[in-house]
Amino acid sequence: MRREIPIAITFIVGVVFAVSYFIPREPFSEFESQFGDWFGIIAAFAIWLGAMNLMKISIVKIGRKSPDYFYSILIIVSFLMIVFFGFFEGYKGIYADPQFSYRDAGTGFNWIYEYIYSSLSATMFALLAFFVASASYRAFRARNLEATLLLISAFFVMFGRVPIGDMLTGWLPDGYTMSGWANWIMSVPNTAGQRAIMIGIALGLVSTSLRIILGLERSYLGGE
């Protein structure tokens, strides 16, 4: 029964969802948003499960003095600090006059978010610029025909996107300047390739959904 009930639920919900797409009447027309709400509620409860698990793992690491357990101390301190500021200022805001939210500017929670979390997050994102450079270097090395084509396309697209490209090729007829070539590469071969991938993805989605609805694919339930 541990398998049969989830499979039956998946089948019923899958069929109802597919059919409701074509039925413009309540309750069918409301299913998508209602199920989305249900999922949100379950996920909100589950986040405590995740947070408690993170705490448990970190405490165990500290207890065992595992390598780099200093990071686990940081996790626990950061977690408790943000939870404290969130609850404390949320509580304070309710009884203040005028009332305020723990997220409002000027609160400790907001300060941590703005000046610690956002900066750290932006730093991680900024790493992308360096990684793009190293990945491009590897991808554009002309090792074979495909890589050479990629290199040539990249050359046209990059030069077509900056003013110097058109400045150097301005003497060519309209549409044949560097930006014209760049636009053609982006809107013809690139779009064709992207659409081919999108069609494949859509068909793969249909096939996977059918396998799950029909109960052929059940690995996500924890088994073969």
């Binding site: 039925i23 996920a43 993170l54 991938i197 993805i201 068909l203 249909v206 059918l210 396998r211 073969e224």
Partner: protein
């Protein structure tokens, strides 16, 4: 109702303003006081198609008066008792209105008031109309048709495979390399890192990743290797634990399973990336698998994996992230290959049948592309009218989104 009243108010204020301006001229004043604009005509109320039975569409022919002297139209509704109440107003260039939030099955009549400088001229009332609902949205017949063809083909191939028919499935390099990648990690005595994307269990890419995890975990259990799976969603963590546990059970090694194999880090995108990058640099996994829905973190993760010399297999259905994975990883499952992976790895004929079924969808897409390209070329280059009609009526009818 409030919006309708506000609209009427604006139109009347505008109309009165113009009336006041017109009163500066004695001749205009005489005309505006006497002459009402010609009323709207041919008022028709029809049931709105494919709704839940709460909308009527009202249309009319505009007033024949000088358009500059018509400021707009007021829509009046009666519930069959000849008592008309205003329900909305539109500007003079518009000659239709959708009356919403009606009672299904009840009869309604409409009258249109044409707003002029000197007052409102009423039209003849419309014939009664009843808002009704339809069981199916027939406007989407094309989606249903294509859905039936593709789903039918998938189911037909599943049954065909069940009946014992041999099916040829091309080799997928990334999946063929999976066992070798786990073996490499075992030989090197280093762990395997599995990242199921950063979306929750309601994303089918995460589901596909979890199904692949089942097969990977089984190989890991057989080889007595170690798997690390930091996740960014709690529900993914619980599903992953169940999947890994089941894989260890089926490998006959339940004692080797630990809940710490899959653990939650954070929902925050770059917080998660920082944690995973740190883990990669510290633990130096021999194999990194990135399967699921990825965004900006795809390149940060895969380049870090590259820098530690790990063998990397990635797969996503997000076309925007594919180039990054292709540049940084050893193998990349492109779009549909991610969804095919579970069926491919299972070797189950019924699941493989579903992969053949989706090939028929590709045939439909290819035929449509060739026919559409031919028709568009003939219609534009040689001005062949029948080809234009074919494009407008057949191709757009079937493949456009209503």
């Amino acid at each position: 109702m409030r919006i309708a009243s506000f609209g009427i108010f604006i139109l009347l204020v505008f109309g009165c303003g113009l009336t006041a301006l017109a009163q500066d001229d004695p001749i205009d004043m005489v005309e505006s006081e006497i002459v009402l604009p010609a009323p709207a005509s041919k008022v028709i109320a029809l049931n709105h198609k494919y709704d839940i039975g709460e909308i009527l569409d009202v249309s009319w022919e505009s007033s024949t008066s000088d358009p500059e002297l018509v400021f707009g139209y007021i829509i009046y509704r009666s519930e069959g008792d000849n008592k008309f109440d205003s329900v909305g107003a539109v500007l003079s260039k518009i000659n239709s209105f959708s009356d919403e939030e009606l009672i299904p099955g009840k009869s309604y009549n409409y009258q249109i008031g044409t707003i002029g400088a000197s007052g409102v001229a009423l039209s003849e009332p419309s014939e009664p109309a009843i808002p009704d609902w339809e069981l199916f949205n027939l406007e989407m017949w094309n989606i249903a048709l294509i859905g039936f063809i593709i789903c039918g083909a998938v189911i037909a191939y599943i049954f065909s495979a069940k009946a014992g028919r041999k099916l040829f499935i091309r080799k997928i390099g990334g999946l063929e390399a999976l066992e070798e990648a786990v073996g490499r990690a075992t030989e090197m005595g280093r762990p395997i890192l599995f990242i199921p994307g950063i979306q929750d269990m309601d994303d089918v890419q995460t589901l596909a990743a979890i199904t692949i995890l089942g097969k990977v975990a089984r190989v890991v259990a057989d080889y007595d290797s170690k798997i690390m799976m930091p996740v960014s969603r709690s529900l993914v963590m619980t599903s992953a634990r169940e999947t890994i546990k089941e894989a260890y059970l089926s490998a006959g090694r339940p004692d080797a399973y630990s809940d710490d194999m899959a653990y939650y880090v954070t929902d925050e995108q770059f917080g998660y990336v920082a944690a995973v990058n740190g883990l990669m640099v510290r633990e130096k996994p021999a194999t990194c698998l990135y399967l699921g829905a990825f965004f900006a973190e795809s390149l940060i993760l895969s380049e870090t994996g590259n820098s530690i010399g790990a063998i990397q297999i990635a797969g996503t259905a997000r076309p925007g992230q594919l180039p990054f994975f292709v540049a940084a990883c050893d193998y990349t499952l492109i779009g549909e290959e991610l969804f095919a992976a579970s069926a491919y790895l299972s070797g189950d004929p019924k699941q493989l049948g579903s992969l053949k079924g989706q090939d028929l969808g590709k045939v439909v897409a290819m035929v449509a592309i060739v026919l559409g390209t031919l028709a568009a070329t003939l219609a534009s280059a040689w001005d062949i009218e029948i080809m234009q009609k074919f494009l407008d009526n057949v191709m757009l009818g079937i493949f456009s989104n209503h």
